[in-house]
C-alpha cells in the first residue's frame, strides 16, 4: 500500500511537471508578445523592455522555466522598475497587475472554491443517491418517468442560464457573498447557500440518473435476491445491500467531477460574485496576467492528479476485493 502510494505520487509529480512545461511553452512561447499586450496601446519601447525584464521574458526559455521551478521550492525575487519584490517559496510568480504574489492570490481563492464545491457536493451526492434509488425502485412507474424527465430537462438547460435564473429570481435566498468559515460560520453558509443550491441541483439531476442506472443494475444482482430471502426489511435490502454496491461506480464519476468543479466552478463563482479560482482565472485571462494563469493551470493539474489518486485509494475502502499494487 505505502509502496503503491509512493509510486503513484512519483507518477503524479511527473504528470504535473509535464503540465507545467506544456503550459509554460503555450503561454510564453506563443507568437503574441505578452509584454506588448500588458503594455497596451500607448506603449513605449522602453516600457516594453521593462516589462519583459520584470517577467523574465528576456531570458532564454530554458532559464525561464528553471527559474520558475526554483521559485516553487526556494522562492525568488522580482525586480520591477527598480523595486525588488520578494516572493516566498512556494513561489508561483508575481502578478504585476494585482501587485501580489500568485501563491497568495491562489491561497485567497482556493477556500472560496472549496466551500462552494464541497457544499454543493453534499447536496447532490445525498439527493442524487436518494432520488436515483427511489427511481430505480419504481422503475417504469409515473413517478420514475416524472423524475427522469425533470432530470433531463434540468440537464438540458445550459448551466449559466440556470445559474442566472436562480441569481435573478430566487431572491428569498441570502445575498451571495463569501465570508471566511473561521470568522463567521453562519455568514459563511448563508452567503454560499444560493451557489450550493444552484450547483447542487444541476448536479443532482445528473447524479440521480447515474444513481438510478447503477441501482437498477445492483438491484438485479443475485446478492440482492439473497438479501430478500433472509427476511430482512425491504428498506434494508435496498439501502444496505443494493445502494452499497451501487455507490462504487458513483465514486469514480464523483472524483472526476469534483476535480473539474474545483478548477472551474467558473459560472457559479462569477454569477454569484464569489472570488474563487474560476473568477481568478477568468480575470487573469482577460488581463493577460500570465503568472496567475500559470499558477491556476498548475494548481488544476495538481488537483486532477490528486483526485485520481484519492479515488483509487477510496476504492479500496469501498470494495474489499480491490487491492492496490
Amino acid at each position: 500500500m505505502l509502496l503503491y502510494i509512493l509510486k503513484r505520487v512519483l507518477s503524479a509529480i511527473s504528470v504535473v511537471f509535464v503540465a507545467l512545461v506544456a503550459s509554460f511553452a503555450l503561454f510564453f512561447l506563443a507568437p503574441t508578445d505578452p509584454a506588448g499586450v500588458i503594455c497596451g496601446n500607448r506603449c513605449t519601447p522602453e516600457r516594453v523592455a521593462d516589462i519583459r525584464s520584470s517577467l523574465g521574458l528576456d531570458e532564454p526559455p530554458a532559464e525561464q522555466i528553471t527559474g520558475y521551478i526554483k521559485g516553487i521550492f526556494a522562492g525568488r525575487d522580482f525586480t520591477n522598475g527598480g523595486t525588488v519584490q520578494h516572493c516566498d517559496a512556494p513561489c508561483l510568480g508575481y502578478s504585476y497587475s494585482l501587485g501580489q504574489p500568485v501563491t497568495k492570490l491562489l491561497a485567497q481563492a482556493v477556500p472560496v472554491t472549496i466551500s462552494v464545491v464541497i457544499g454543493a457536493a453534499v447536496v447532490y451526492l445525498f439527493l442524487g443517491a436518494l432520488l436515483g434509488t427511489m427511481a430505480a425502485q419504481r422503475r417504469g412507474s409515473p413517478s420514475d418517468k416524472l423524475l427522469m424527465g425533470s432530470a433531463i430537462t434540468i440537464n438540458s438547460i445550459p448551466y449559466f442560464v440556470f445559474a442566472l435564473l436562480v441569481a435573478l429570481y430566487v431572491t428569498v435566498l441570502p445575498h451571495p457573498q463569501y465570508t471566511s468559515f473561521l470568522s463567521n460560520p453562519i455568514a459563511w453558509a448563508g452567503g454560499l447557500v444560493a451557489a450550493w443550491l444552484t450547483l447542487g441541483v444541476t448536479n443532482t439531476a445528473s447524479y440521480t440518473r447515474y444513481a438510478r442506472a447503477s441501482m437498477i443494475e445492483s438491484l438485479g444482482q443475485d446478492f440482492v435476491r439473497t438479501a430478500r430471502s433472509k427476511g430482512i426489511s425491504e428498506r434494508r435490502v435496498v439501502y444496505r445491500h443494493g445502494l452499497r454496491a451501487a455507490l462504487t461506480p458513483l465514486a469514480t464519476i464523483f472524483g472526476i467531477d469534483l476535480a473539474g468543479q474545483l478548477t472551474g466552478a467558473l459560472f457559479t463563482e462569477s454569477i454569484f460574485g464569489l472570488p474563487g479560482l474560476g473568477v481568478l482565472t477568468l480575470r487573469a485571462f482577460n488581463q493577460y496576467d500570465l503568472p496567475v494563469l500559470m499558477g491556476c493551470v498548475l494548481l488544476g493539474a495538481v488537483v486532477l492528479v490528486v483526485m485520481n489518486l484519492v479515488v483509487d485509494i477510496v476504492y479500496t475502502f469501498l470494495d474489499p476485493r480491490v487491492r492496490l499494487g
Binding site: 439473497t226 430471502s229 430482512i232
Partner: protein, 354 residues
C-alpha cells in the same frame, strides 16, 4: 390454453406434508402479453424428505420455488392457488408475515455462491444479519451463533473466517457459508436451487453430502432444483419432472429414474452421456422448450414428442392430459396419453440407454 389438474388421485403421504402446493399459478404481465410460468402445479412434501424438481430452463422449477419462498415482487407477479408451509398459507400473505416466513419458515440456497453472497460484507456480517433479522439477540450472541453454524457446515477456524470476505473463500467454502446462512434460523424447509451447478465435481459431492447430513440433523424438508439427473439419483426421495410450467411426472426416485413414464423424462435420460463403456450417440430431445407466451395446445410437449403418432385420434394436440397414474402403481403419475408407457419404456427406450 391451460391444463387444469384438480383431480389427481395420489397416494396419501406417509406424514402430514410440511409443504403443500396446490393449483399454483404464477403469471408475469409483460408488454408482449401475460407469461404464465407456472400453470396449476400440485405437489406436497413431508418433513425429512427430499423432493427433486427436474426440468429444462423455463420449465417453471425456479419460479415455483421462488413463490414458495415468497420472493416474487407482488407488483409484477400474479400468484394464485395455494402454498402451505407448515400449515400457513403463503399466497396472499401480508408483506410483514412473508418477511418472517423467509428465513424462519423456508430458506433458500442459490446456484452461484460467488454472486449470491454480497461482495462487500464479511461472511460473519451476512450470517449475523440473517440471524438478527429473526432473533432479538446481541451482536456478540449472533456472532457466536454464526461461528457455530460455520463450524457445523465444515468450515475450519470458524471464528477467524467470520471476518473473511466471500472472495477470500473457495467456491465450495462459499456454498458452505451460504448453507450456514440459510440454516441459521433453523427453517424446516430448505430450497436448494441448483446448489452445485457452479462447483467442481469433487466439491459437488461434498456439498450434496453436507446438505443430506444437515437434513438428517435438522429433520427438515428439502426441495432440490436441478437438471442434473446424477444429483437427483444421489439426493432425492421423490422426483417431480416439470415441463412448460407444470409437472409432467411425479414419483419416487426409483420410479422416475428407473422406469419413467413420460416421453420427456425419457428424453432427459437419453440426453445423458455414458461415463463408461462404448461412446454411443446421444439422443437429445428435438426442438426447444415452448415460449410461455404461446404454449402449444393439448399436451404442451407434443411438438417435440416422437410418440405422438401412437396416441389414438388427435388427442396429443387437442386434449391436455391429466397427471394421473398410468400403470398399476398408483403413486407414480404422469401427464401423457400414450398407452402402456411402462412397456414402451422397457422395450424401446431402455435398450437405447447407454
Amino acid at each position: 390454453m391451460t391444463s387444469q389438474t384438480a383431480n389427481q388421485p395420489r397416494q396419501a403421504p406417509v406424514a402430514t406434508p410440511y409443504l403443500e402446493v396446490s393449483d399454483l399459478r404464477v403469471t408475469f404481465p409483460t408488454p408482449d402479453g401475460a407469461v404464465t410460468a407456472v400453470r396449476g402445479l400440485n405437489y406436497s412434501l413431508p418433513l425429512g424428505r427430499t423432493l427433486a424438481i427436474v426440468g429444462e430452463s423455463g420449465s417453471g422449477k425456479s419460479v415455483s420455488s421462488m413463490a414458495v419462498m415468497g420472493l416474487h415482487d407482488p407488483k409484477s407477479t400474479r400468484i394464485s392457488g395455494s402454498i402451505k408451509v407448515g400449515g400457513q398459507e403463503i399466497v396472499g400473505m401480508s408483506p410483514a408475515a412473508l418477511r418472517k416466513h423467509r428465513g424462519t419458515g423456508a430458506a433458500m440456497i442459490f446456484q452461484d455462491p460467488q454472486s449470491s453472497l454480497h461482495p462487500y460484507f464479511t461472511i460473519g456480517n451476512q450470517i449475523v444479519e440473517s440471524y438478527r433479522a429473526h432473533h432479538a439477540v446481541s451482536k456478540r450472541a449472533a456472532r457466536e451463533r454464526a461461528a457455530e453454524m460455520l463450524n457445523r457446515v465444515g468450515i475450519p477456524n470458524p471464528r477467524r473466517r467470520l471476518d473473511s470476505y466471500p472472495h477470500e473463500f473457495s467456491g465450495g467454502m462459499r456454498q458452505r457459508a451460504m448453507i450456514a446462512m440459510a440454516l441459521v434460523n433453523d427453517p424446516k424447509l430448505l430450497i436448494a436451487d441448483e446448489p452445485t451447478t457452479a462447483l467442481d465435481v469433487t466439491v459437488q459431492a461434498q456439498i450434496l453430502d453436507l446438505i443430506q447430513d444437515l437434513q438428517r440433523d435438522f429433520g427438515s424438508a428439502v426441495v432440490f432444483i436441478t437438471h442434473d439427473l446424477g444429483v437427483v439419483a444421489q439426493v432425492a426421495d421423490d422426483v417431480l419432472v416439470m415441463y412448460a410450467g407444470n409437472a409432467v411426472e411425479h414419483g419416487t426416485v426409483r420410479q422416475v429414474l428407473g422406469a419413467p413414464l413420460h416421453p420427456y423424462a425419457w428424453g432427459l435420460l437419453e440426453s445423458l452421456p455414458a461415463v463408461s463403456g462404448e461412446p454411443a450417440p446421444l439422443h437429445p430431445i428435438p426442438g426447444s422448450p415452448p415460449s410461455l407466451l404461446a404454449v402449444p395446445g393439448g399436451c404442451p410437449f407434443h411438438p417435440r414428442c416422437e410418440f405422438r403418432d401412437r396416441v389414438p385420434g388427435a388427442m396429443c394436440t387437442t386434449v391436455a392430459p391429466d397427471l394421473v397414474a398410468r400403470t398399476a402403481d398408483p403413486a407414480h403419475t404422469s401427464r401423457c396419453h400414450l398407452p402402456a408407457p411402462d412397456r414402451v419404456f422397457a422395450s424401446e427406450i431402455l435398450p437405447r440407454l447407454p
